[in-house]
Amino acid sequence: MTNWSIILNIAKTHLLTKMKSTVTATLGVTFGIGAYITMAGFMTGLNDLLDGLTLNRTPHIRLYNEIEPSLKQPISLYTDFEDTFNVINSIKPKKSQEKIHNALPILDYLKTNNAIKGATPQLQAQIFYLSGSIELGGILVGVDIIEETRLSNINDYIIEGTPEALRNNSNGILLGAGLADKMSLSVGDRVQVSTVAGDIFPLKIVGIYQSGLAEIDNVQSYVNLKTAQSILGQPENFITDINMRLFNIEAAPEMARQLESQFNVKAIDINEANAQFETGSNIRNLITYAVSITLLIVAGFGIYNILNMLIYEKMKDIAILKATGFSGRDVALIFMSQAMIIGLLGGLLGLLVGFGLSVLIDNTPFVTEALPTIKTYPINYSPLFYAIGIGFALLSTFVAGYLPANKAKNIDPVRIIRGT
């Protein structure tokens, strides 16, 4: 039977009479946990931000037609040459392969699939932007802007104008911010685009688009799908990409493979498209945990030392307790309690400090051209970090307290009382 009130009372008295050591050990834990909470919150906040920058605008699955030469050349259709060795020089892909065959039926099919949140057609075309004497190469993307807004966070990146303004204006364009800068254009101005074939179309700027990635903002603009088709002189079924968003992102790779074989198109899923971001996140997480664990191990050694010292100073007390009927287990519990009290106090204080620093970072202004939606540094307040933080505080103090407590448990009172 364990008499907790007396064990805790003795533990408390020891801690209070050794106030300096207690405070040192507690602050060690506080420092470790506080740093962990702050770093984890900041690092994962940063991760989420960077992931959002790229992943959120990456469709879960993208269907397109890879421009590649046909594997089956006409000559193989002739039975006459079946048994001969044919050599064909300089094979080139056909031009018509740019578009997705049967795009509209595929789109209709995808819209009925209930694993898919939405599928939206795009037409990507190489064009030139003309303004005065300037001529810039770029990409024009024809989209169903309302559907895009529903399925991606494109709206966050339209820094001037609205998606509706584009939808309502069949000659409207959402110009890339870099392009607008280079050509000194703003909303309401006109810009001309020229197709590769040389046809020129005037468009009205209804908004500015800034993704934060210069290589996109300097070349890419959005128009309505129909506008893009008519600029290229193509019919309504001319679609180069179908972007999909699923309800469950995990299902993307499997579904991509399935669509590929079903429709004879190229399907790329989000994991393939962004494999490198996963690596970046993992490395940042690794750094966070490596630093926090190092801090906690240092704090753990502090606790270990202080408890060892305390036990050395309290040899006589331990002998008396044992002589008057306290068991080795009771004595071990007294010292374990001290470690756990330090861990709990230090840990809780660490959570508070970590939260405080997080709030501070969260309110520090962070303005950058590249990230139009971001006003302050990002912080992730996930309760998971707080749970891990306090759990780790208790675990490390438990480990640090265990050896000294076990030593106290095994102290032979006779040796102490004899004074040898």
Binding site: L321, G325, D330, I417
Partner: protein
């Protein structure tokens, strides 16, 4: 008459630094209410014997009985409980928990026993202190009182659970003659008035002569 303590052929060796047969065939009995003293030259094994009798040292051969129950071979947990409940121990150097008050020191073994309520324990502790004329020191820190007072606090602590037997290892060895006399008088009174059994190691001839029985030791043996 009932026996409170009995040893049968207790032998003990120290193996370090070399084999040393420190206790040789110790067999004796303490009857209920008896006040016995152990005498012998320094180094003859008195303390060693007392540590075995108080169940703190389990490294011996032979048998030890307390209240006719065999103690030898019991687990450390069990021995702690027996020590807590049945054995009061007073050391030569009044070992008190210096960071606790006098009354807390006295209450400690009773709190561990956890039979009585905190209020009863406190009341009992006051009674013991009063009996030893140190109740006015109850709230003092144990480190702030004199040597003679400390030893009386240690006696009060040893008595708090109303033990079967009170053991002392030269409890007056570190006190001046006035305080020694005082402690002896307390023991004598506990023996005659309360019927407590006592076993006290002493160097003091006068002290020993006034006890019911003297157990004489020489070179690890009980003689006579």
């Amino acid at each position: 008459m009932k026996l409170v303590l009995e040893t049968k052929n207790v032998n003990k060796h120290f193996y370090k630094p070399k084999d040393f047969h420190v206790l040789k065939d110790i067999s004796f009995r303490i009857k209920e209410g008896e006040f016995a003293s152990i005498m012998g030259k320094s180094g003859c094994g008195k303390s060693t014997l007392l540590y075995i009798l108080s169940t703190m040292d389990t490294d011996y051969t032979g048998e030890l009985f307390l209240n006719d129950r065999l103690i030898t071979g019991k687990s450390h947990e069990e021995l702690s409980r027996i020590r807590n409940k049945n054995i009061g121990f007073v050391f030569q150097f009044h070992y008190l928990l210096t960071e606790f008050s006098v009354i807390e020191n006295v209450m400690l073994p009773a709190k561990k026993l956890a039979v009585k309520s905190l209020k009863e324990i406190k009341h009992d502790a006051y009674e013991k202190l009063k009996m030893l004329h140190i109740d006015h020191l109850a709230e003092q820190r144990a480190s702030r009182i004199s040597g003679g007072e400390k030893q009386r606090v240690a006696i009060a602590r040893a008595l708090i659970n109303n033990p079967t037997i009170l053991m002392g290892d030269e409890p007056t060895g570190n006190l001046d003659s006035h305080n020694s006399q005082n402690v002896f008088n307390i023991f004598k009174r506990l023996s005659t008035e309360e019927g407590l059994s006592l076993l006290v190691v002493t160097h003091d001839e006068d002290f020993a002569r006034l006890t019911d029985r003297i157990i004489q030791m020489e070179d690890g043996r009980v003689i006579d």
